[in-house]
């Protein structure tokens, strides 16, 4: 649950970040993307099909050749923060959902301070809450309110939710995806691919609890129930079993990391026992 202490920490956090990060969210970044804008980047010869309005007639007067102007696109950036609100996030001494919310709020706070637009949305088996991209403190507070009230429930369908959300992104954006990614790897890969379409910048944050990472707290004859589906499996948890589980868990995380590399996303796997500022610094540093 987010509280006022958290905002104080965010202020301190923002001050630290400002000192260290000068170009990421300064609103002055040049975009490598070309399109309609105000500043001319260069010229090229007219080709049939090009917009006739783009022809530089003055240059035609001097050279008697048709050249069209190429402009830099708008450089304002919208940040989309997607947080997993499925039941699997309702786990841990520090709930994974709370930890993910803090990271998401951190991004929102950072963006708000830079007077950029952000949208914060929750997803589970579908998009649960979707906020319009806006600027301002009021919008930020609404997002905090949403995070405080959101119940962690339902299963995770990243593939479906990514497809739905990617259709809502109108312009080039920064997408921050925060989840525990507890679903089959193919579904995760599909979700990452869909959300990264449109050349968005993508930051993927996996939030885990230490207990689920090594199963060190479980031992012997055990019935394990899935938090999301309620499915049960009867196993004997032995050191060997834990070792296999850890290997499997590691492979799962590596699979996500590899998928992120393929789509050009930055991947961060963080356990919820990590101090939030250290975690945030690792992500944006």
């Amino acid at each position: 649950m987010l509280n006022t202490d958290f905002f104080k920490e965010l202020d301190r956090f923002c001050f630290m970040v400002k000192k260290r990060v000068t170009t990421v969210y300064a609103g002055e970044r040049r975009s490598i993307r070309q399109g309609k804008g105000s500043e001319i980047v260069d010229y090229r010869e007219y080709m049939p099909g090009d917009d006739f309005k783009s022809v530089d007639w003055k240059l035609y007067g001097r050279t008697e050749k048709l050249y069209i102007r190429r402009f830099e696109e708008e450089k304002n950036l919208t940040t989309h923060i997607l947080i997993d609100a499925s039941k699997s996030m309702d786990f841990g001494a520090v709930r994974k959902f709370d930890y993910a919310s803090m990271i998401g709020a951190g991004f929102a706070y950072l963006v708000t301070n830079e007077n950029e637009r952000f949208a914060l949305s929750l997803f589970a088996d579908q998009l649960v809450e979707v906020m319009e991209p806006r600027r301002g403190k009021r919008h930020f507070l609404a997002a905090i309110d949403l995070l405080n009230k959101a119940p962690a429930a339902g299963t995770t369908r990243l593939d479906l939710c990514s497809e739905q959300y990617s259709k809502m992104i109108k312009s080039r954006s920064l997408v921050v995806l925060i989840s525990d990614f507890m679903q089959p790897l193919p579904s995760i890969e599909e979700g990452l691919y869909k959300i990264s379409r449109g050349s968005h910048d993508l930051i993927v944050v996996q939030v885990l609890d230490l207990k689920e990472k090594d199963l060190g707290w479980a031992e012997g004859d055990t019935k394990l129930y899935d938090l999301e589906t309620g499915e049960m499996v009867h196993v004997y948890i032995s050191p060997r079993f834990r070792e296999l589980y850890r290997e499997r868990f590691e492979a799962h995380s590596n699979g996500i990391r590899k998928a992120c590399e393929e789509v050009g996303a930055d991947f961060f796997s963080i356990t919820s026992n990590t101090p939030i500022f250290d975690a945030f610094l690792a992500i944006v540093g």
Binding site: D226, L227, V233, V235, S238, P239, Y245
Partner: protein
Amino acid sequence: MEFANPLAAFALATFIPLIILYFIKPKPRELKIPSLVLIFQLERKEDVFRSVLRRFVRDPLLLIQLITIALLTLAMLNPFFPALAEVEAEDVVLVIDASGSMQATDVGQSRFEEAVGLARGVVGGKDRVSIILAENVPIVVLRDGDGEKARNLLATLRPRATPTNLGDAILLGKDLLAGKENKRIIVYSDFARGYGPEPALASKLAGAEGVEVDFIQVGREGGNVGIVDIKRTREGYSVAVRSYAQGEEEVTLQLSSKDKVLSSETRSVRPSSREVFLLQNLPGGLLTIDLRHDDPLPLDNRAYLAVPEPKEERVLLISEVEDPYIKYALASAKSLKWQVAVPPVIPPFENFDIVILGEVRSTSLLPGTIESLATYAEKGGNVVIVASDKLQELGGLDPILPVALQGGSGRGKMEVRTVNELTLDLDLQGVTTKYLLAEAREGSITLATAGIDGSPVLAVWSKGKGKVAYFGIKPERSWSDFHLSPSFPIFWVRLTDWMRGTNLVENKNFATGDLVPLGERVEVKTPTGMVTTDRLLLDETGVYEFKGDSIASNLLDERESDIAPGSTVPKEEVKGTVERRSVEVRRYIEDYILVMAAALILGELLFLRRRGEL
């Protein structure tokens, strides 16, 4: 599968506490985790078998322990499979026919060599082997030897020339195997005709005592022609040649003496018939009779004949009867030179080979005559005492007379008590005669008796180095009519022949297989070597020499010469080879089960280690 210790099944009761222990163990913990999807993947990675097993068996340890207990219980049950296995060590009696027919050369070197070769191949190293040579009497040449010893001994055995007696050999083998397990008798023979109990019957008797008898036949064909009999006749010697061939065979009989051919005669012998050759005017000495014919059995193609040197026997008849009947009986024998003496004038006994004391009065004899007669007998003389009314009056006869006279006489029919060369074919049986009441003395042989009291009328014994015979029928009508019968002169010729003893043809010619008592241990030169014995078994054909005398030994056996194999044992009982016997054994498998149980225990430990509990 069967179990040697079924009571061990109660050990399965240990299942109950084990299962109870598993039932009362704590219930599994129930935990909720977000990452079950990964555990599902782990579960999928397990092989199908384990997955199925897990579905049915919640805890593999229980299954492992139950199976281990089941296996240990199974091991305690001593499970076994009945199976057939070769007997490792047997008590084997090898009966090898060593008779004359086994010298036939229709297979290999000879039938005997073939049999020995087969026998050597059968004997195993751990067997206890006895070997019996089946001659006319069974001879044990090895008793409970090991396999190697038996094989070595077999290599040294040689065939004999006796008739065969397989039945007694099998019965002896049965007796040798009494009280033993895994016992068998293997008989190697041509199963040509023989003597004694039938081999098949002996086999049945042995089988009744648990002894398996295998008959292994050697020999392929018959077709032999051989000398099967030699007889002395009035005219000389008859030699019988028997053909067992399918067709008519031409044979030549050749008589030789010291490599000098005396006579030769060629005749054709028809199939399965007998041809008799007559040999006359034979000189004394050792003669060889050869049958010139090519057949598988050379053994019966040669016979040896020891003919006594002609010698006149001197006989003294002491009698006061005028013109005694005995005189005429003696006159019928050409080889006898006889003299009648009327007491009191009697020539010295030492000048005669045989002295016959006929009817004389005691008063007619000079004092000391009877004592001289006794001394004569003691020193090797032969005495015949003939009964008369006055015999008892003669004093001093008791030491030499084979009967004790009781005084008085009786009348009754004669009865032959012992059939031998003296009484054979003589018409003594049923002759009514007067006789002197008498009892046989100890050591005498009673050949004939008379009357209901059984008084001896013909008795013989040895006295010192001589022989004494008592003839209890006075040749007179008032006694009987025997002296008038044709048997009377024959009887006297036989009696004098018997008295002469060793110089007879019959005492110099024997059939193989005969046992000749020698009286004392002497060195004997056999046809193939030297032996020292007091009882000579004639198991070779040829000439045996001992104490300056020679005797001939011949096969002369129609059954042995008939070498056609397989007539004495049913064909279905004859085998070609012998295989080592199989017996039902128990193949215990508890060792394998224990190994499996140990493997399971090891598997359980590995499982626990893999699960991290060790």
